[in-house]
């Protein structure tokens, strides 16, 4: 949080300080919009800072600060619409989009910032280990709506896999981190704890990255966030054929919801995934086996 505080305009920082003094909430997002009050939400409720407004000049200075006064370094980021800063926090941006040859070239006059506060939750996947490990790591798909804690859980699973324990050796983990969400890399260096045996391909397209990892890093577990495209499915099949275990996530409500998607149908029919973990509101709801049958599993920790 200190890192974020340092970037904010003085007036907002003061009010935010005051806000957190009186409430004990764990913020998920802080949203800054030009000429509007500052929004704070914890995934369940929305809070507003009533006094301070985020001005146009604040927006310019804020962008300058997050780029370390070097906006020229953010060309790719401004095209993709988000910036990852130290500490793994991600700042999403919207504004006026410049288009060139039908493709987004950059975002100018940025008017909204969405600071997604990275929350590393070490140990959230511990209770799952018994159902995900059976002499090898089972192919696992985490299903959940946005902001449900999918990536937090996935990150911890990667860490557990790459760390090992008394009766389980650490495995080689390859992460394809297309949106810098899992490892939250800055200049390619992961900001999150991911264990010793983890290699990260930062900002790499998922399907291509998975093939690259198989060719170059011989991973035993491949970790990818938010699969769903036709290409992703092909890469997933290829990875399984190469003998790697998979930890993936997908946007969705539940098992039935995913089943209706054409690209996922084949994967599910072929029972590529051994386990489905359903998460909602930062809680693990249930664990299903390859046929979609619930597995008896106890303890419900929050993600």
């Amino acid at each position: 949080m200190q890192i974020i505080y340092r970037l904010l305009p003085d007036s907002i920082r003061g009010e935010l300080d005051e806000f957190f003094k009186h409430r004990s909430i764990k913020p998920q997002e802080i949203r800054l919009r030009v000429n509007r009050p500052v929004e704070i939400n914890d995934g369940l409720r929305v809070y507003w800072l009533s006094k301070s407004r985020f001005s146009q000049i604040d927006a310019e200075n804020f962008l300058s600060s997050i780029s370390e006064h070097s906006i020229y370094r953010l060309e790719q980021e401004l095209r993709q619409g988000y910036i990852t800063i130290d500490g793994g926090h991600r700042i999403g941006i919207t504004g006026r989009v410049n288009v060139e040859n039908g493709r987004v070239r950059s975002i100018q006059h940025i008017t909204s910032f969405n600071i997604r506060i990275a929350r590393e939750q070490i140990g959230v996947s511990h209770s799952l280990i018994p159902v995900l490990w059976d002499n090898r790591w089972l192919n696992t798909l985490i299903i959940g709506p946005p902001q449900s804690g999918k990536t937090t859980l996935l990150r911890d699973m990667a860490r557990v896999g790459a760390t090992g324990s008394v009766n389980r050796e650490a495995t080689k983990v390859g992460i394809v981190d297309e949106r810098s969400e899992i490892a939250a890399s800055v200049n390619g260096i992961p900001q999150m704890q991911l264990g010793y045996r983890t290699d990260v391909l930062d900002r790499c397209p998922k399907s291509e990255g998975m093939m690259m990892l198989i060719r170059s890093m011989s991973p035993e577990i491949i970790v990818v966030d938010e699969i769903g495209g036709e290409k992703d499915v092909y890469a997933v099949e290829e990875a399984v054929r190469a003998g790697a275990s998979l930890f993936c996530t997908i946007h969705g409500e539940d098992y039935q919801d995913i089943q209706t998607r054409p690209s996922m149908k084949r994967l599910m029919k072929n029972q590529v995934f051994d386990r489905y973990v359903i998460v909602k509101h930062r809680k693990i709801i249930e664990v299903l086996d390859s046929k979609g049958q619930a597995i008896h599993w106890h303890s419900v920790p929050s993600v």
Binding site: R6, S64, E68, H69, S70, I71, Y72, E75, L78, S106
Partner: protein, 170 residues
């Protein structure tokens, strides 16, 4: 006694003359150094996309005095402060202009450049740096000319005026 006084007058006037001539030479030299600095800036920003603080640090390592101190200070202040880069830049340039013999118009060019620094994309930076370099080239040519014209002259004038005053007093 008289001889010593005369020698002192001549020496003092000569020193003044040499100082003035030195000013011309230093402006030429500092303008040349600024051109070097801008070329390094260009390489770092356009090709390496190095963060501005690190660019300043590199510049302070690669350039001789007094540019060394200037960029070291810039790097430090930008890292410490959360304020606007341009404010720090123009403030430091003001200090720098006092010791560098740069003219107000030279400093103005550099200040204008500072207004754009770090605020635009790579293409814009490339253009700005080229533009500033063109301006500095013009100023450097002018400084060279003045140095050739007035440099020697002010030295000679210094010595001669010393002798002239001494003669008057005799």
């Amino acid at each position: 006694m008289k001889v010593i006084a005369i020698l002192m007058i001549i020496a003092a006037c000569s020193v003044v003359g040499f100082e003035i001539s030195n000013g011309f030479a230093r402006r030429t030299k500092n303008l040349r150094l600024w051109k070097d600095a801008l070329r390094i800036l260009e390489a770092e920003i356009v090709y390496s996309q190095t963060p501005i603080i690190q660019v300043f640090q590199k510049l302070s390592k690669q350039l001789p005095k007094p540019m060394k101190e200037l960029f070291a200070q810039l790097a430090k202040e930008v890292a410490d402060e959360r304020g606007d880069l341009y404010e720090i830049w123009s403030e430091k340039l003001e200090d720098f202009s006092k010791i560098s013999h740069l003219k107000t118009e030279d400093v103005e060019i550099l200040k204008q450049f500072g207004r754009t620094l770090g605020k635009y994309d790579i293409l814009q930076h490339e253009k700005q740096i080229q533009l500033t370099l063109t301006h500095l080239d013009r100023k450097a040519a002018e400084a060279n000319e003045q140095n050739a014209k007035f440099g020697k002259m002010s030295r000679a004038l210094g010595v001669l005026s010393g002798i002239f005053i001494a003669l008057l007093l005799l």
